[in-house]
Amino acid sequence: MSHEQRELINGFMKGEINRRTFIRRAVATGMAASAVAGLLAINPPSLLAQSLPDPSAPRPDGTPAPDEEQVLKMVTPSPFRMDPPTYGGDLWQLQQMVFQGLTRVYMDDTLGPGVADSWESNEDKSVWTFKLNPNAMFSDGTPITGDDVKWTYSWISNPASLSTSPDTFMKIQGHEEVKAGTAELLSGIEVTDPQTVVFTLTGSDPGFVARTATIPGCILKKDNVIEGGEEWWRAPITSGFFKVTEYTPGDQATMTLERNEYWWREPAKLSRIEMALVADPQLQLTQYDNNEIDGMVAQPAEFAMASTGGDRAEDLFWGMALATWYFGFYAAKPPFDEKAVRRAFAQAVDLALVSQVALSGIYPPQPRVIPSFFYCGGEEQFQPSFDIEAAKASLAESSYGSAENLPKATFLVSEQGGATALGTWGTVAVALQQMIADNLGVEMDVIRKIFANVPEMHAEAEATDGGVIFRLSFGASLYDPSFISNVVRSDSSANALRYNNPDLDALIIEADAELDEDRRCELYTQIDQMIGDEAVFLAPLRGTSTWFFKSKVRGIKIVNQRVWHSIHEAYIAVD
């Protein structure tokens, strides 16, 4: 790509050149038609948000509609079911409200009582005692007891459950035996009375309570699961705010949830939720605009349009998510196994500009991994800042000395695994490619390819000549800062970038075992700082959760990524 073309694209992306001029000059400079079309399609300046609007504040209260009108109609794009061991799709957080763990994430973003009322641990946090609510009941009116808790936790570890997260409770004694099929129940769980469950772990785990709030920790009814067989979830008996009164699986799945009259805490305000699978986003929008549904996920283009006005501006409801969308360095190969090179690249990109022009600002730059709205988080700038001179200096400090000596480098962009429109991340990669070329003098390739999973990306990276930068994401399924450990610990299977740093590993081991809360936070902050200092990521962007809700829907709040954690507070207002 010529310098003239780069100037042209930069001007267009900054809004200094209008569409017409851009197209005319692009044609004159011989720019590839596909590149022009891609930039125009993904990045029409008219759709750019001038700046990211503030996260939505809770809507003002209104007068609740009569109970029979407390019905929320929603659509979702993927098949769904209420099946905690094996289902991890779009409605996973709703599942946590329909079922219930010993604990759950509350509206104020803290962990609180679920099936259990209280809990305590011994000094080294290796033995945890949970007191269940004596009124806790399943949706069929039978009591939830310690035996149900013990069976559920054992079932998740049992291969017969086909659980996708069988090791969630691997620290409970007896996990290996259950997993190997030599025991049915976890020996490390003792039910001392129907309302008291004692967990004995193989070692300290300060984050154990957070694990009880995860999906695998949702309490199931043994008879329902065993008697229902492989498809027990067709008629699940639940343990949370709602019960399932109708469910049709398939490509046009529908589900009706009704308020669980046996729920023992403050009941849900909605009497019914009607959920339907509608895969086509255009059809979803038509239904929404025609007032046939009350809410849906807002795609980036619609988000951008709504954030600058229009019919759906008042309906836009969004918040930051505990997720990181990133371009990261594959650290297992040169030149990105060297910190100075990674820093040079990270300092060469103006992430704020990329976010604004290529993503409509919907994913803002992430200064550090654990955000300020999360436990132990903050907004300090740990990620290298955009500084062209510093970038050049970093590259000069590296063993390569200059751009000319660097081996070839490539962006491997998989569009899958995100909530954004197809092609979006490829466009971001092109923007990053141009910035690195302009600011660092390094020419990179961009390869767009569909990868179903990270192992496939690894194989492609190993087969690719030179260095590789991936586009990936991660989130926190665990309400604990230890979620960042998995991303960078050298022996973690979730370390997609194959980053390896013994100093960081030592810090992680220390943090994971630290019992003092303040010190623990301090250590995770240090880990976060080291991730930034080491420039593990080229371009980390904060995930967001974006929705449209009709104005009559009140009481919702974005909590820990999605709205579903506040679904019990949602209600339909008449004014």
């Binding site: 996708t164 398939g250 046009q252 059809l283 569909i450 999973n453």
Partner: protein, 311 residues
């Protein structure tokens, strides 16, 4: 006629086996790994992955898996969807009648409108009705279904406000089905119009048509009795093959109207790398296309006896 039909069926058996093998191979060596997709955020847990592979029998030799698959398939068992966790056959048996009815409605529209307009075009060859029909046909043929469907939706639902969103399946005679089938019929309409126009045009110039007119047969009688029957053989072939293709699933239309047919099944299977679902849907579609192909041959044989006698 029976030996002819049996002969045709026998030729399709090896084709079906080959299709089964190819689709199965695709699921074995194809891109993506549904188990990793199933594992969601836990994708990297190798032990859990191996456990799932074993649970689903994916760690057995390929040939063993294929033979098992064929044996089960003969019993109507296409396995269990990785993503939806239900029997694929259950999904197929729900989707097939829906797609069949949608395709039937579409083919009726294509046949009635296409043949009708084709006859008008032939009768007014190179005059304004012919040009207008050709232009509209080309226009409809040129608009991709994924563009046409949203336009129709926005126009009828949001702009004119005359219907609610035609989402889902509401029965053969519902307006929702007619709208979706009309969108589905838009693309193949042009081919039927042109074939009818060409066929009718050719027959109109035949001696026996001139003779019929000379004998004082009304124009209506000439068209219906002498022209159409002789011009319809190639059109019937096209209609039959179009019907077969429509049965296989109109991915975009079914997706746009949220119709739970074979197209939606394909779309969901593809999006989720759900190979049992994809393989099952492909086999059923393949079967339908072959079945409709036999049907076409039979109809063709009825219209033109030379076909079935091989002369």
């Amino acid at each position: 006629m029976l030996p002819f039909i049996l002969r045709r069926i026998l030729t399709f058996i090896p084709v079906l086996v080959l299709l089964a093998f190819l689709t199965f191979i695709l699921s074995y060596y194809g891109p993506g790994d549904p188990l990793r997709v199933m594992m969601g955020e836990n994708w990297a847990d190798e032990a859990a992955y191996q456990q799932l592979r074993h649970s689903y029998g994916l760690d057995r030799p390929l040939l063993v898996q294929f033979i098992d698959y064929c044996r089960d398939m003969l019993r109507g068992d296409f396995g269990r969807s990785y993503i939806q966790r239900v029997e694929v056959s259950e999904l197929l048996w729900k989707a097939i009648p829906v797609s069949a009815q949608l395709a039937l409605m579409a083919i009726i529209i294509v046949a009635v409108v296409g043949i009708g307009l084709g006859i008008i075009s032939a009768l007014f060859r190179n005059q304004w009705p012919d040009i207008a029909i050709g232009t509209v046909g080309v226009l409809l043929h040129s608009i991709p279904p994924f563009v046409l469907a949203p336009i129709v939706l926005v126009a009828l639902v949001l702009k004119l406000g005359i219907i609610s969103t035609p989402s889902g399946w509401h029965g053969f005679f519902s307006y929702q089905t007619v709208i979706a089938a009309s969108c589905l019929a838009a693309y193949p309409l042009l081919a039927i119009i042109r074939q009818t126009r060409a066929g009718v045009g050719d027959v109109l110039s035949q001696d026996y048509v001139r003779t019929a007119r000379a004998k004082g047969v009304s124009e209506y009688g000439v068209i219906m009795r002498h022209v159409l029957r002789n011009a319809m053989a190639p059109v019937a072939t096209s209609l039959g093959l179009t019907f077969g293709a429509l049965l296989g699933g109109a991915i975009f239309i079914e997706s746009a109207f949220n119709i739970p047919g074979m197209g939606t099944l394909f779309f969901t299977g593809l999006r989720n790398t759900d190979y049992p679902l994809l393989t099952g849907a492909t086999m059923v579609s393949g079967f339908w296309i072959m079945f409709s192909s036999i049907l076409v041959d039979v109809i063709y044989g009825i219209l033109d006896p030379r076909v079935r006698t091989g002369k």
